[in-house]
């Protein structure tokens, strides 16, 4: 193919968009709406997932040691080192008897420090040094607790079966529901967009027929339509991306501003993290649908 023919096809593709304003706008609009819905849905789901993941990291197992070990720092560290070697373990935090008492005092004698003074020289939680263990995956908790029970020297294990069960099931529901919704949305988008592009091409079937009769190759006929499809896909994906970026920034700052109380619970993902996935995915979807949509639609008219 001559280089001039190549540029001619690109130019024609661009001009086709302007010549067929109405259909171009319809195609761009359909892609915009689909990508926008997908983008918004994706932003909500990943943030929700993030909140769950954050919550998961806060679900820990606390172990207390036998009395004789509780006073022996070296023995406790030895057992902790043994536990920390397990791949399930994400992190472990040591809480000394003193820290435990401080925490207890803050919690139960708040505003009445005189009541705690009687214990100044005699820590009632002296034998309560503990380790908090955080797992990589809370689903492993039950099995891990069984393992801990086998370790000699551990007197007591605190953990919440309910919290784990709740998180695991919420996580599963989100994963399944979002997979179904995303799949449905993508199929609806593909269906709508290929239909719109198909319609815009079929109104130009006379043009295609003329091209064929004067000896245009299929390649030559197809190229401008493909360029047109790709451009429509790019524009159709670009606009909702910009809108989502703007909305996300504003919604996040609004929620953070208004709901300061929840700021510990709800941590939004930074916009660049959302966009780093959303931009390539949306562009690939838009361009892909534009590209294949035009190829299939033109092919129908090139068969005869």
């Amino acid at each position: 193919m001559r280089i001039s023919t190549f540029f001619y096809c690109i130019r024609q593709g661009m001009q086709n968009i302007i010549r067929n304003k109405l259909f171009s706008l319809a195609s761009i609009g359909t892609i915009c709406a689909s990508v926008f819905l997908l983008g918004i849905f994706y932003s909500i789901v990943v943030n929700f997932n993030n909140i769950i993941r954050e919550a998961e990291t806060k679900v820990g197992i606390t172990i207390f040691f036998d009395k004789d070990i509780s006073y022996d720092q070296a023995r406790m560290e030895e057992i902790a080192a043994q536990i920390e070697k397990r791949i399930e373990v994400q992190s472990m935090v040591f809480i000394s008897a003193e820290q435990a008492w401080e925490h207890y005092k803050d919690k139960y004698f708040e505003g009445r420090p005189e009541m705690a003074e009687g214990f100044a020289q005699d820590n009632p939680l002296a034998a309560s040094a503990s380790y908090e263990i955080y797992l990589n995956n809370v689903e492993d908790q039950t099995e891990f607790v069984e393992y801990l029970k086998e370790i000699p020297g551990i007197r007591r294990i605190n953990y919440s079966e309910m919290a784990v069960r709740g998180l695991v099931s919420v996580n599963k529901i989100i994963t399944y529901v979002s997979a179904v919704i995303v799949t449905v949305l993508i199929f609806v988008a593909i269906f709508l967009i290929t239909n719109t592009i198909g319609l815009s091409i079929s109104v130009r079937r006379e043009e295609i027929r003329i091209m064929r009769l004067i000896g245009a190759t299929k390649f030559f006929i197809r190229q401008p339509f493909i360029v047109e499809g790709i451009l429509i896909g790019l524009i159709g994906a670009g606009i909702p991306l910009a809108v989502i970026y703007y909305i996300y920034m504003n919604v996040v700052s609004y929620v953070v501003e208004r709901l300061k109380l929840l700021s510990g619970l709800i941590v939004f993902l930074p916009v660049h993290q959302i966009m780093s996935i959303l931009i390539p995915a949306a562009l690939a979807l838009g361009v892909g649908i534009g590209f294949f949509g035009s190829i299939f639609s033109v092919r129908k008219h090139l068969r005869a």
Binding site: M1, R2, S4, T5, Y8, R19, E206, E207, R209, I210, M211, R212, L213, I214, G215, A216, T217, K218, F220, A304
Partner: protein, 228 residues
């Protein structure tokens, strides 16, 4: 130039559009094909353009047996034939210049050649001054002249015209026929399918009359009247 041997075309519906056609048109001839609706004229044009495949027989055009031609060779073959239709079939959203240039772009002609050749051919059909206009801004006769310019811009050996004056008034019809005659005098083989009795009778060219898919007469310097 155009040789049809025992060509038949039966559509899927069972209707026989062309029956056992034998036709030979030599290079440089001007031929009218006349006949009523349903006589097989349009099917013949479609067969020559390889828009349709014959059910049997062979069609050889410019030395090429097009009945055996592979699909991917069809565009190259069509570039050897200029074609003009009753409804002009111009690209409505492109200027006159672009409509004609389009046929050259299709064959990947160099830009310099396009810039030289398009004004030349528009001048030949008398539309040099209207190259910026769009089809809707032209009269029917002018639009048909653009279609002829597009058909001729690549210097085809054959020009097929399917009812070229069907949508035109008598004055414009004569202008178009004179133009086709001129094209023929310059060496192009011209095949015109028409209903226009007056033109056929006055031009005194070879007239092939068709009826129910068969050739019923073939006369040098014939007339439409002979067919009735």
């Amino acid at each position: 130039m155009i040789h049809l041997e025992n060509v038949s075309k039966t559509y899927e519906t069972g209707s026989k559009a062309v029956r056992d056609l034998n036709l030979h048109i030599e290079a440089g001839e001007f031929v009218f094909i006349v006949g009523n609706s349903g006589s097989g004229k349009s099917t013949l044009i479609k067969l020559l353009l390889k828009e349709l495949e014959p059910t049997s027989g062979s069609i050889v055009v410019d030395g090429l047996d097009i009945t055996r031609m592979k699909r991917r060779k069809i565009p190259m073959y069509r570039r050897k034939i200029g074609v003009v239709f009753q409804d002009f079939r111009l690209l409505k959203d492109r200027s006159i210049y672009e409509n004609v240039a389009f046929a050259q772009r299709v064959i990947a002609a160099p830009g310099r050649e396009i810039k030289r050749r398009v004004p030349e051919i528009l001048n030949m059909v008398g539309l040099a001054g209207k190259y910026k206009s769009y089809p809707r801004q032209l009269s029917g006769g002018e639009q048909q002249r653009v279609a002829i310019a597009r058909a001729l811009v690549n210097r085809p050996g054959i020009l097929l015209a399917d009812e070229p004056t069907g949508n035109l008034d008598p004055n414009n019809s004569w202008e178009i026929m004179n133009l086709l005659d001129e094209v023929n005098r310059q060496g192009t083989t011209v095949v015109v399918v028409t209903h226009n009795r007056e033109i056929v009778d006055q031009m005194k060219k070879r007239v092939i009359a068709m009826k129910s898919g068969r050739i019923v007469s073939d006369e040098e310097e014939g007339g439409y009247a002979n067919e009735d």
